[in-house]
Amino acid sequence: MRLLPHGRNILALGLLLAAPASAGTVGLRWDPLAGATGYRVHYGASPGSYSSVRDVGSATSTTLTNLVNCSSYYIAVKGYSSQGESLTYSNEVTGWSRPEITSASPAAVRQGDRLTLNVNGANFQPGAALDYDIVGLPTSLAGDPLVRVENIGVVSCNQIQAQLTIEPTAAGLRAMEVGSFAVNLDVVNPDTVVGASTTQLNVQFSESRADVNESDAVTANRIDGKDLVWLAYSFGSGEGQPKHNSDADLNGDGFVDGEDLAYLATRFGGCWTGSAWSAGACP
């Protein structure tokens, strides 16, 4: 009989760790043992020392529950029949409970932000990987998500941090589109057991983009008539069309239109104070 951990084969009794439902659980399955009418799962916190046992009947898979998070478990299986229990254990598998993502923050980001994404949960092993898949982006951004997740690191068994970059706000570059999209997160522990979740990112407008002609030193840090004129000049244009100015596409949707004009209008007359845009004019 082989006892195999979830996601990998270990020879001998053929025990696998299978996909459990949540944190604090370990899923198992194993190859049938000839002549066995039932199986007992033995497990504990030390190799070869099994303090707990669970009779699962004739099933060849089970999920151990109520396990302590972020702790190693050592697990082996014995078969039994009317003639008694097998003399030897299966191969021993070890691992943590399945990683589980309970939350990710922040939920709201701003165009041009570079910030830390905190992924919270349990059973994140050192060396765990964070896979991400951005879904639900507007069609205009297909293949060009303008969002990067990098520098992924396991902080603790309960937290993974990653650097999140929402591109861009620099002059001449297209902004991330204002709106919401989903980020599917998968934490993959070194033992290949996976925990998954989805978080929602809401990209918000960056006031600094309203300074459309920020390359103009005379009116730098002001949102004024020059910004309006530059935006108005590109008004109605789409990306790639004549007179299109990505700096005037304030909401990053690929068009300079009424929404951009509205964004500018709400910030018109504002002044950069060094840390924020004030409603009033610059001195």
Partner: protein, 185 residues
């Protein structure tokens, strides 16, 4: 469908902006009578200047400043601040001019009066990317102030620019801006 909605939104906004704006400084009722003396009466070509029209009767404290563009070419938009003594006057409202609307062009106006004594003004065409040639003095925008105290207040342009239709629009060189003196008795 989404794109159509955006366009409609934009047209509505432009239309709204083009209808003239409300003021952000509410005025108190006074009996002051306002007047305005331009710095230049007939400044000639390539200028932007201001004339004033005092109100009458119960509106005698109101003075409407007419910002004119005079004899210049390729004007796509304008950007300037108008400063005045906030202890002598306050902003009431604005109405659109006509110079940039020439040829049926859509025009966007922005007037921010958040800071007392300073108006941040922007006016721009939003269609076509074509500038207008101004063959005589035409109003760009009208700004109405209410005098709130006796005395005089200089009305000055700061950071002024008329912008042309090059890509991107650039300040027209050789332009001169003239303000004036606002008074109340």
């Amino acid at each position: 469908m989404r794109r159509v909605k955006w366009i409609v939104t934009g047209l509505l906004l432009v239309s709204t902006l083009g209808c003239g704006g409300g003021g952000s400084e509410s005025g108190s009722s006074t009996n002051y009578a306002g007047s305005f003396v331009p710095d230049a009466q007939n400044p000639g070509a390539n200028t932007v200047y201001v004339t004033g029209s005092p109100g009458t009767g119960s509106n005698a404290s109101l003075v409407t400043l007419h910002v004119y563009v005079n004899n210049t070419s390729d004007v796509y938009g304008a950007s300037f601040d108008v400063s005045f003594d906030s202890t002598k006057a306050q902003f009431v409202n604005w109405t659109p001019g006509e110079v940039l609307e020439f040829g049926g062009q859509s025009v966007s106006y922005q007037v921010n009066a958040t800071t007392p004594g300073r108006l941040v003004v922007g006016v721009a065409r939003t269609s076509g990317g074509v500038g207008v040639t101004v063959s005589e003095a035409k109003p760009l925008v009208h700004l109405t102030l209410r005098v709130t105290n006796t005395g005089s207040s200089a009305v000055r342009f700061t950071n002024p620019a008329l912008l042309n239709s090059q890509d991107p629009p650039a300040p027209k060189s050789g332009m001169t801006f003239f303000g004036g003196m606002l008074s109340a008795v």
